[in-house]
Amino acid sequence: MLLNVYLKSLRDSKKSIIYYSIGTMVLGLYVTLFYPTIRDSTGLTDFLEQLPEAMLAFIGDADTYTTPEGFLNAEVFGFMGPMIFGVFAIIAGAGTIAGEEESHSLDQLLANPVSRKNVLLQKAAALLTGLFVLSIALWIGIIGGSKIAGFGLSLIGTTQAIFSLYVLGGTLGLIALSVGASTGKKSLAGGLTASVGIIGFLLDTFLSVVEALDPLRFISVFYYFNHNDVIINGINPVHCFTLVAVVAIVLIVAVWRFEARDLRN
């Protein structure tokens, strides 16, 4: 596991990947095993329809809430999934370069014949690999849970929604990694990216009800992640590509800044 920076980084986050993957799998299982009680509860749709718009923006669509996809959309992809993926990605991203710099191990790593760009890209790849494992675990949890509970679920929709969640996590993680690589400051990297996530979430949910703020949803990462309700309607390639493009630009800037700046002592 110590052949290169990529494998070393994976090894460093091994425990974290395992624990978070258990978390995502349990989330998938819990929500799917819980679903039949929602499906069978009569009158829930009527109740939801009476809720204020702002609450529904958070919970999901009243019409689809009692369908398997609608329920998962609300309970997994509405809040818990993005939160787990976001927290994992931001901690991993902020800690990987800025964290090494702050703990003073980066100098010694870079005294070896490995370029800064190379270190950054390998660490980015390790982060994406970690998120991939979380995604697989969530997929197993959801699909496994639906089999156990005995209800049908769109395999393609679920896979696409998890992929979209993966892209969201990658976006947040790589923003954190990039801010950290550009500045060497771990708390700035973590804080700034958490703000991007939280503000993005608010803009796409509660605040979307405020008409004046509605146009701002276009700057929300959550809008591009799941505004399309991916598990129900399938992935929106433009939305997905937008996130990928943002990440690509952020990474290019990060490589440039990381190569150009002085390392902190």
């Binding site: 110590l2 070393k8 003073h104 100098d107 010694q108 014949p113 490995v114 370029s115 002085d262 002592n265």
Partner: protein
């Protein structure tokens, strides 16, 4: 620049915002020598080293290491350079062996020399870095710097905080490696260390190189504090007459003085009396500096 010197810098200058790191540093290290950069903390030693390794970039001026540009060819420079800082900080969760294996992998090398060195320095490679004492951690640093047999070694205050025995072993290793043809650049704030291992010394003060000297020359100009206790009264005037002896003071058969260069004449005169005790103090770095500044002031005055 077609300069093949192991390290060469031209007008190397680094400012951290408004704060001076170094200014106008010109250095030329010869192949196969042990060069010491001597200066107090904050003088700019680490700044020079971090520029050579491309951790930071000069504000102006340039440096070549092993004949290559410190910025554009850093990767190739680092492939052929071993680096050990004064406080070797690295991945605490790895065992010493894992760390050395990791760095060897990054360098495309193996651990055969590392194992020999670990045995020599009596280091248990199976322990985690985070559990090692300061001295043992520094041994790991030492091994990783030397294990790939680099052409150039850059050591930044490598023995700070090590016990004297380990310092000695370390100095022995440096001398062996130098004898095998390696070039070694070492920074230090203690003169005795530099005297033991270096061929030449550059003195850095407030970011500028104020002198570059052969160690032998430096030693000649070094002031040593001597205190001698005699059994009987001695003549102050006799001691004041000796060339190189200054600040002679005598109190109750105790003589103190400063000696520049060789102690031979003083010892021979003292030997005419019964000596109860003799102590010599290593001169403080400040005093070495003062000797240099006084000299350069005098040179300046003569030039006027």
């Amino acid at each position: 620049m077609s300069n093949n010197a192991p390290i060469s810098s031209k007008n190397l200058t680094k400012f951290y915002g408004k704060h001076r790191g170094i200014s106008g540093v010109n250095l030329e290290i010869n192949e196969g020598e042990v060069f010491g950069l001597l200066g107090p903390n904050g003088a700019g030693k680490t700044t020079c080293i971090r520029i050579f390794l491309d951790f930071i970039r000069p504000t102006s001026g340039s440096a070549t290491v092993l004949g290559m540009d410190s910025r554009s060819e850093s990767l190739e420079i680092r492939r052929n350079t071993g680096y050990l800082p004064g406080d070797f900080i690295t991945y605490e969760k790895l065992t010493a062996e894992e760390l050395l294996q990791y760095f060897a992998n990054l360098r495309g090398g193996h651990l055969s020399k590392a194992r020999v060195l670990a045995e020599r320095f009596d280091l248990d490679l199976s322990r985690k870095i985070g559990e090692l004492s300061r001295g043992n951690r520094q041994k790991v640093g030492l091994i990783q710097a030397f294990m790939s047999d680099p052409k150039l070694l850059i050591l930044d205050e490598p023995t700070t905080g090590l016990d004297p025995l380990l310092q000695q072993e370390f100095h022995a290793l440096v001398l062996e490696e130098a004898a095998s043809g390696k070039t070694i650049f070492v920074s230090s704030h203690v003169l005795p260390e530099v005297e033991i291992i270096c061929d030449r010394v550059g003195i850095i003060r407030e970011g500028s190189i104020v002198a570059v000297e052969e160690v032998a020359t430096l030693r000649k100009q070094t002031v040593t504090k001597i205190a001698i206790e005699f059994e009987e009264a001695v003549s102050k005037a006799d001691f004041e007459k000796i060339a190189g002896v200054s600040e002679v003071a005598i109190k109750d058969h105790h003589l103190t003085c400063n000696v520049t260069g060789s102690l031979d004449s003083l010892i021979k005169l003292a030997a005419k009396y019964t000596v109860v005790n003799l102590q010599s103090g290593h001169p403080a770095l400040e005093e070495v500096f003062l000797t240099f500044y006084n000299q350069s002031d005098e040179t300046a005055k003569t030039a006027d």
